[in-house]
Every structure is written in C-alpha cells, then in structure tokens.
Amino acid sequence: MVATSFTPMASLMGGALIGLSAVLLMWAKGRVAGVSGIAARLFPPYEDGEFAGRLAFVAGLVAAPVLVRLATGSLPPQTIEAGTAILVVGGLLTGFGSVWGSGCTSGHGVCGLSRLSPRSLVATVVFMAAGIATVFVMRHWS
C-alpha cells in the first residue's frame, strides 16, 4: 500500500466543487448528479432524449485532468496498485452494483443525503460498510 497524507482543506474544497456541480446540474437540467446513472444511460436502451447532455457531462469529467495538466503542467498522483484481474472484477461489481442499487457515491452519497432520502442513507451506509469490509479482508486477512 501507498501512504497518503491527510488533506482536510483540499478535500473540503474539492468536495464543495462536487457539491457546486450537483447544484448546477439541478438548476440547469433538474437532474440528480449521479455519475453511475448518467454513465449507464450512455448505453441502450435509451429512454429519453438526453444522450448528448449526458455525454457532455461525462466528457467534462474526463477533460478535468487534461485541463489541470494544461494549466499547471502536472497532475496529482494517481496510484493504481490493483492488477488486471482485480480491476476487471472491481469494475464489474462497481458498475453492476451502483446501477442495480440506483446510485453510487454521488447519486446516493451526495445528492441523496442532501435530500434526506432514507433510501440513499441506507445505500450510503451499506456501500461504505462493504468498502471498509473489503479493504479489511484484502489488507489484513493474509
């Protein structure tokens, strides 16, 4: 594992930007900024005419590090220690679980909690607990 430093101010500021994005999407399109829901609807079946807007949102997510690199000449570290097998299994579970459970960290954790949704509270507690349990098994059960 790679040690990381505690960054309360940067994390608070970054979190505020995520919140600002969620508020702006509700203001502009009246939609919850749930990344799993937005990404999943880039694939068929298409239920409404919002494909281009969703693609633009995802393009913005992907463009963010490109913009940071252009503006500052470098990127903060991104340490991916997982091998291919873990990435594939982790990706499948993340994609399946977040869509089947109607949301991920952003949809349930940020937007849902902010709307005091009991479903999102349950979902957030469960995915946090499952994440903690998984890391515990991976790191401490060997």
């Binding site: 594992m1 969620a22 399109k29 997510l61 991916i80 579970l93 952003s106 995915f127 499952a130 994440g131």
Partner: protein, 155 residues
C-alpha cells in the same frame, strides 16, 4: 447551450474529484482501511470531501428547488421512492465490494480516463459492462428471483 453547460458542470465535478483527492485510489483505500488506524495509515480526508459536498448540495438544492422549473428542462426529475427494498441494500453492497477492491467509484473512474492510464481504462471498460448488465437484469426481474427449492415453480 445546454450541452456546453453540462460539459462545464461535468468539468467542475471532475476538478472537485481531483482537488479533493478522490481521483487517487490509494487515498480512497486508505480512508476505507479502518484497520490502519492503529498504525497511523488511516487517511480521514474523504470524510471532508463528503462534508463539503453535502453541505453545498444541501444548501444549494434548497434554493434551486424553490424555483418553478430548471433553466433547460420542463420540470425537476427527483426520485420519489422512500421504501427500503432488497435492491437498495444488495446493489450498494455489491458496489461497495468493487469500490474496496480497486479504490474507484464511478466518477473518479471516468476522470481516470483523462489521466491516461491503461489501468483506469480497464476498470472503466469492466464498469460499463457491469452497468449494461445491471440495466438488462433490472428490466427482467425474473432473472434475479431467488427460488428456494421448496417454492412452487411458476407456470
């Protein structure tokens, strides 16, 4: 115009992920690693990401939802269900395992594409496959019914 604004909104989200440290899987995994508390390797930063995001969203939603309608849509599309069913527990449980394995949730995974690593690409490809599968299964509830041996078979 609406499309451009949605790009900028996604960009702000992505910048938030980078500034906050969510785009670094090592940081996410160190946050989830409560077993690292005694050794001092636990990174509490992500609690601050959540606090900042929820504080701004809570206040902002309160103001925005007082408006008659959004700028570029006829109405607000808000989830209305409040019941706790099997999927709202099982889905997040499955997602949480995936999150704990690699340290990516969907937003940071997509942002990782812009970092240009092949690992991020592999994760996103698998994630998209999982998403498509989930929608397929959700449209066909009979695929996910657990039939105990004693249950009468549907005819």
């Amino acid at each position: 115009m609406a499309i451009l604004i949605q790009f900028v909104i996604g960009l702000i989200f992505g910048l938030g992920l980078i500034v906050s440290g969510m785009s670094e899987p090592a940081k996410v995994l160190n946050f989830l690693d409560i077993g690292g508390i005694p050794a001092g390797t636990w990174d509490a930063s992500l609690a601050f990401v959540m606090a900042g995001a929820v504080a701004v969203t809570f206040i902002g939603f309160g103001r925005v939802l007082r408006r008659a309608r959004p700028i570029f849509a006829e109405r607000f599309y808000l989830p209305t269900r409040r019941d706790i069913d099997f999927r709202i527990v099982a889905g997040p449980a499955i997602f949480g395992i995936g999150w704990g394995l690699a340290g990516f949730c969907p937003g940071p995974a997509l942002t990782a594409l812009g970092f240009g690593s092949s690992s991020g690409f592999i994760f996103v490809a698998a994630m998209c496959a999982g998403m498509v599968l989930a929608r397929f299964v959700a449209d066909r509830p009979s695929l996910m019914r657990f039939v105990a041996p004693a249950d009468p078979l549907e005819t």
